[in-house]
Assembly symmetry: C2
Homo-oligomer: 376 residues x 2
């Protein structure tokens, strides 16, 4: 497989990396945050707004899109990019994680996962062939392998079984993607390292998957309920065993400080519903922490969410106006707060890239987290 | 008062007019549709999107804005234009109509209307002084007088009382706007002609108000439950008695065919929640009538809402995608359908202006309505 990732620089004080990922739909400068477009839309934003705030790549959810509207339909309409009006790169998950978190009556078997749709109870099945076919139908630039994400906490035996099964599925997914021409056509497939809190299982999983030479690697099974120090420990126990010349991705992470901590451990890619979800709930990110616009103190506040921040929401509207929209349950509140929050995450990633390049990532990151946590 | 309206052309076959209204925040080419921004936002759209689809003037609701966030707060934050990020003209209603339709425990007295807020039951009062003060606080380019809108049907006596009271209130509102410098500063005040289905009362009200030389005139008390022929009759019974050199406005109207019929009767300005409301409910306007995206027949439809229509929704998305968003209850469905629907109304007004200029308004309008109604 052609090298699609260029490692431009590694920080001297931390394991932070500055990289560049090439996809069928353009370049992605890393570290990068990927806004989540679960059902074929980054919630409350137009693709033009997603682009306007600097998104380079977005996420789609295989589980949701396969249930509704169906991956065959998306394929018939020209693929997910055309369907949702986004011409940049798209990464899709395998759907496995949503089966674990959303579906009912699931049964994990060696050949895949049988489950009932959370929408209508229909009996469905996702195995390696199904997830690779669905992601090919969607036209993902980066597809994820099917994996088994053990719960936290779990026993060593449980975890062992999940790691073994995930490795088998990863191998099968890779072979399917070779056989059906997906990899050959320049799409990518990322493997996922499981292992829960068992360092030696993570080490083993990382090395086994590294040997298969995937275009990229995710660190899975983090942010599934464990305390933050445990999460950091798991990522720290995994990253060093991943190939340095491949991008690394922690799935479903996290708060702004968590993202900076993960970057310091050598992670390059992040996705999280946090900025969009809290935006729809009336909260906004600032360098001094998350603020809730419902708070009475913003009623007369003429300041923008973040002074000098260059996005439509901050350029055009006061906190008082945004609070009014939130209190009046106006849809525009969701749009403007989501727009700002997604920009905040993308801007944080851009700052991280600049500081890795400048060689002062560690000091900057420490100060950034200290200010954020002092305000929160 | 300085002339703010220029009558550019009158149609020969109908009473349709092509005009130009000058306001403190710019020109308005008439006939024009005004998107409704009830609570300081055209629901589901950013001001940038409202501008992008060609809006020249929008509406704000005094009743709503005075309850929340309060007109004093809006004034303290620089007025409604700055508050909501819209630098074009804004027309505000007096709030009277919403008191009739939304508020509880209302009592109509000669000095105004006492009522309980629909939000928290607070006892409030709107008289001529209150509505003019609130609209001055908001910084409206065009303020409406307080009026009493009698229900349909109503007795001649009831209507007589409402017409007399509305005339007194109009006179008071005008005097207040002179005394407090509102009119002198270039803001405008429009009078409202009531009279229900009693032609001679409408005639009388129109002439009495015309004598007061307001900058513009609304035909009120239409679209309050009466059948469409009755509504057309009322407008036809009023318009001829309004001064030809002043803009005419029917409040809260209507469907696309109704707007064309009103234009043919010599009405220049329209506002209606119809395009925004049906957009949020999953429906879209087309030249062949309103379509409901929930309909199964759109599930695989790759066509835009309206072929060749130049707005973001039609340029970028298929009916199949829009249907998916509607079915998945995504906020983006509301945004994209509202954007299209508001553009559809504004484009209809633009076409009407062009055809009045070209001298073929009557034939074009007849054909437009026939096609629309055949499809619906």
């Amino acid at each position: 497989m052609a090298a699609s990732f260029q490692l431009l620089r590694t920080d001297s004080a931390t394991a932070a990396r500055r990289g560049r990922l090439t996809t069928r739909h353009g370049l992605v400068e890393t570290p990068i945050f990927m806004p989540v477009g679960t059902q074929g839309t980054v919630k409350a934003l137009t693709p033009a707004q997603v682009r306007e705030v600097g998104a380079q790549i977005i996420l789609g959810n295989t589980y949701h899109l396969n249930l509704r509207p169906g991956s065959e339909l998306v394929r018939a309409l020209g693929g997910l990019h055309k369907f949702m009006g986004w011409d940049g790169p798209i990464l899709t998950d395998s759907g496995g994680f949503q089966v674990f978190s959303l579906a009912k009556l699931r049964e994990i078997r060696d050949d895949g996962i049988a489950f009932a749709s959370h929408l209508d109870g229909a009996r469905l099945f996702l195995g390696p062939r199904e997830v690779m076919t669905i992601q090919a139908n969607l036209g993902s630039d980066i597809a994820m392998v099917l994996d088994e994400c053990p719960p936290w906490p779990c026993s060593r035996e449980e975890c062992r079984r999940a790691v073994d099964r995930s490795l088998r599925w990863a191998r099968e997914c890779r072979q399917i993607a070779i056989d059906n021409g997906f990899l050959g056509a320049g799409h990518q497939v990322f493997a996922i390292v499981q292992g829960s809190t068992f360092d030696e299982l993570r080490h083993e999983a990382a090395e086994s998957l590294a040997a298969l030479d995937f275009p990229g690697y995710a660190i899975g099974g983090v942010s599934v309920g464990e305390p933050e120090p445990e999460m950091v420990k798991q990522v720290a126990a995994t990253a060093p065993f991943l190939p340095a010349n491949k991008p690394r991705y922690t799935m479903g992470l996290g708060t702004p400080p968590q993202i900076l901590k993960m970057i310091a451990l050598g992670v390059d890619m992040f996705d999280c519903v946090h900025p969009t979800r809290v935006g729809r709930n009336g909260a906004a990110f600032t360098p001094d922490g998350l603020i809730n616009l419902r708070n009475e103190r913003f009623r007369t506040d003429p300041a923008p969410l973040v002074e000098g921040m260059d996005n439509y929401t901050c350029r055009s509207f006061s906190r008082a106006y945004l609070r009014h929209l939130v209190m009046a349950n106006e849809i525009l509140a969701s749009t403007l707060l989501t727009l700002h929050n997604v920009h905040f995450y993308l801007d944080l990633a851009a700052q991280a890239r600049a500081h890795i390049e400048a060689g002062d990532f560690a000091a900057w990151s420490r100060a950034w987290i200290a200010r954020y946590e002092a305000g929160a």
